[in-house]
């Protein structure tokens, strides 16, 4: 059995994930124009680090926080590490907790940060959210989109990536035109996964709307499509907001689109965190914002940094993680 991801990776030092978290928070600040955020409930998949919970609470003031944790065996460790007593822990996998244990009485911010690849269980979570969530709720799904090994793990036989994907999600979920070569390509595979999730969300929305009067009909607006890589696996985060026609104007007034990372297209917003020293960061900060001419300037003191690195820094500097090794006594 694979060990849980929190035992494999230290979540606090995953720079791209950290950037993503901050971006999500910034988007949620805008959601505050629609409703007071304290009316919202945040639901996440736990980890012993609770990084998302801490950030969401500190930056948005949301106190209704629920952590879904599947590693029941480690219950004591989770309870020990839980940073606030108002975080409610619901043990079980999301497929059990979402339909059975969670109450859908409030507007939700649901971040399903899976540490595995797209499989049938993801569809179950998507469908429950879209059947139950209230207008104004947000969903974000994060999955591993590293192309598959075409071999079967157990037998070593060649099965092909198409069949592997079909085995996990069912052949009827694979978009028309998908071929083996799309699934091998590190850019192609996330695109296929994106389409699969997007199709599922739109299908569920139209099912939810059957027989509903116009004002209550729901619409889905995609806000997020992030692609990043902290460790060995490429991750894709897709999501957005659902709202009724009644709430549409207020949601539009949130102006999510003003944020540069808000993305309603199929082309992902790539988060690349350049590895820079503090000295470099401070220097670059003084030059901000970096434009075409300042990027091309060869004669500055940082000519040893590639244009690519500077560009990437410019793109995310407001969310740039600052990790310090320190003992807090």
């Amino acid at each position: 059995m694979k060990r849980p991801s929190y035992e494999r990776v230290d979540y606090t030092v995953r720079p791209a994930k950290s950037v993503e978290r901050k971006m999500l928070c910034e988007a949620l600040v805008r959601l505050g124009h629609f409703r007071d955020l304290t009316q919202y409930r945040y639901v996440g998949l736990g980890s012993i680090f609770f990084s998302d919970f801490i950030l969401i609470h500190k930056s948005l003031g949301i106190k209704d926080l629920i952590s879904i944790e599947k590693e029941i065996g480690d219950k004591k460790r989770f309870e020990f590490n839980c940073p606030y007593k108002f975080i409610k822990m619901l043990f079980g996998n999301s497929n059990e907790v979402l339909p059975n244990k969670l109450k859908w009485t409030k507007k939700l911010i649901l971040w399903l940060d899976y540490d595995y690849k797209l499989d049938e269980s993801v569809f179950r979570d998507i469908s429950i959210f879209l059947l139950k969530a209230k207008s104004g709720s947000i969903i974000l799904l994060t999955i591993d989109v590293e192309p598959d090994d075409p071999k079967d793990e157990k037998t070593g036989k060649h099965v092909g990536r198409y069949d592997k994907l079909a085995d996990r999600i069912g052949i009827l979920k694979i978009p028309l035109g998908t071929e083996e070569k799309n699934l091998l390509d590190p850019a192609g595979f996330p695109r296929v996964c994106f389409e699969i999730i997007d199709n599922e969300i739109n299908k569920m929305i139209s099912i939810r709307n059957v027989g509903i009067e116009y004002n209550d009909r729901l619409e889905y607006k995609q806000l997020f499509n992030f692609l990043y890589k902290d460790g060995s696996a490429q991750m894709l985060s897709v999501g957005g907001i659902i709202y009724s026609q009644k709430d549409k104007k207020e949601i539009q007034a949130c102006n999510f689109d003003k944020l540069k990372f808000i993305n309603s297209t199929i082309k992902p917003y790539e988060i690349i965190v350049p590895k820079l020293t503090f000295r470099e960061v401070r220097y670059l900060d003084k030059l901000l914002p970096l434009n075409k001419s300042s990027l091309k300037r060869k004669k500055d003191d940082l000519s040893f940094l590639s244009e690519e690195m500077k560009k990437n820094y410019n793109k995310i500097y407001r969310y740039f993680p600052t990790f310090v090794e320190a003992e807090i006594g």
Partner: protein, 448 residues
């Protein structure tokens, strides 16, 4: 004719209402079946052009968007005379010119499919000598109760309607529920999956079928060759227009449910798949005569049975008008079904053995999966290229299940006793306690 407002007291009205065709008969088919039916029309064009030859160069292009459906082919087009007198009639007049081995039969398919989809259609067709355009607004047409005919549209200029001989049908103002289905992108995957099997023979004969520009591949009807012999049965039914029926039964690739389980029967009428993979009593699963066959189960996922009904005059074929069901009351199907059940048995017996073998292997009763390795080493070949015999023949287990020279012993003892022995032997696990006490006993009794 008497004026309309004069009612003859002795006449009872028996004429059909247009509603029957527009909103009722359309309920008997699914949207995908409706599209399949339109593809059948293209295939009939291909048959008319090439007979039993290859369809290379012929193409069917299907375009599905949220507000429009289009199907276009280069399969020869509909002759204006045929269109004028037969093709647009409801039901097939008995004098309709016949295409041998065709799949269009009932004279309902195209109209029903179009009514199912939307309100406005445009049909353009160019054949070797003639060409025409028909535009139909269903709403307007249905308002005139007794007027059933359609009109050709007068050509505005002399430009050719289409670049080559063929037909193009466009449906717009889609019905609400059709629009909903077309919005769902998964519908396209479903359509592809369905057409891939329904028209696999036609596609493998060289016909190109594209959905939104993506050519679909023919699902292969493959069977394991090697030491396996596929069962083959053939019969000619003289009184049914010389219908020829062929059955192949063998084993193919294993796919689980998610990968698209392909186990079961495939029933073809004039090379068009009607049903398949069929896994119910219709094709003999759960049958008790002439032999007993269990219900379908994933353990039979390798089972493949192909039945081909082929006849010049398609009225004899055992299918329903939707072409998605077998006419189970058809005497010919009832007769063939018994042969199918009979031929299933040896395959069922073999697959049961394969299953038992894998269970035995998992429990440690077998050292090797002999039958499984026979399957793995047998090539997959197209059904028409495999060796056949009267019955399915599979290799037997050459070696008897070899007993291993080791067995597992398990037993339970109370913890305190086991802990005592652990201490004494200086070991930490119960397993070691078991092994060492056994060794000690054996030494004392046999090796002293």
């Amino acid at each position: 004719m008497s004026p309309k407002n004069k009612i003859d007291p002795n006449v009872v009205k028996g004429s059909p209402s247009k509603e029957l065709f527009i909103t009722m008969l359309t309920r008997d088919i699914t949207l995908i079946d409706a599209i399949s039916d339109l593809v059948d029309n293209c295939v009939d064009g291909a048959i008319r052009l090439k007979g039993k030859g290859r369809f290379t160069g012929l193409e069917v292009d299907i375009t599905v968007t949220e507000d429009c459906f289009k199907i276009k082919d280069n399969c020869g087009g509909i002759d204006k005379n045929l269109a004028q007198n037969y093709a647009f009639r409801f039901g097939r007049p008995s004098k309709t010119p016949q295409i041998n081995y065709s799949v269009g039969q009932f004279g309902i398919g195209m109209k029903r499919a179009l009514f199912k989809m939307g309100n406005n259609f445009e049909i353009k067709s160019v054949s070797a000598k003639t060409s025409f355009t028909i535009e139909i607004d269903v709403k307007k047409w249905s308002e005139k109760e007794d007027e059933w005919d359609f009109e050709f549209k007068k050509p505005k200029d002399k430009k050719p309607l289409l670049s080559e001989c063929g037909t193009e049908i466009t449906v717009t103002s889609l019905n609400k529920n059709v629009e909903e289905r077309f919005k769902d992108k998964l519908f396209l995957t479903e359509l592809k999956q369905k057409l891939e099997v329904q028209h696999l023979i036609n596609i493998s004969r060289g016909l190109t079928v594209k959905i939104n520009g993506h050519p679909i591949k023919a699902k292969q009807l493959e069977l394991h060759a090697g030491k396996f012999k596929t069962a083959y049965w053939e019969k000619n039914f003289k009184t049914y227009g010389n219908m020829n029926v062929k059955i192949y039964v063998g084993i193919g690739e294993y796919k689980n449910k998610n990968q698209g389980d392909m186990g079961g029967w495939y029933i073809f009428c004039n090379n068009r798949l009607i049903k398949g993979p069929e896994q119910t009593e219709i094709t003999g699963w759960d049958a008790s005569t002439p032999v007993s066959i269990p219900k379908y189960h994933i353990q039979y996922s390798r089972f493949r049975g192909f039945v081909f009904f082929e006849v010049k005059e398609p009225t004899h074929l055992p299918w329903t008008t939707a072409k998605n069901e077998i006419d189970v009351d058809s005497p010919i199907f009832r007769a063939v079904r018994l042969e199918m059940i009979r031929l299933m048995l040896p395959v069922k017996v073999f697959l049961d053995e394969v299953h038992k073998e894998s269970v035995d292997f998992a429990n440690g009763r077998l050292e090797k999966k002999y039958l499984q390795s026979e399957i793995d080493s047998a090539n997959l070949k197209n059904f028409s290229d495999v060796q056949t015999s009267k019955e399915f023949i599979a290799p037997h287990r050459k070696h008897k299940a070899k007993k291993r020279d080791e067995v597992t012993i398990t037993y339970k003892k109370t913890t305190d006793k086991v802990d005592k022995i652990k201490k004494l032997l200086g070991v930490s696990s119960a397993r070691e306690v078991g092994e060492q006490t056994f060794e000690n006993f054996y030494k004392r009794e046999f090796q002293r």
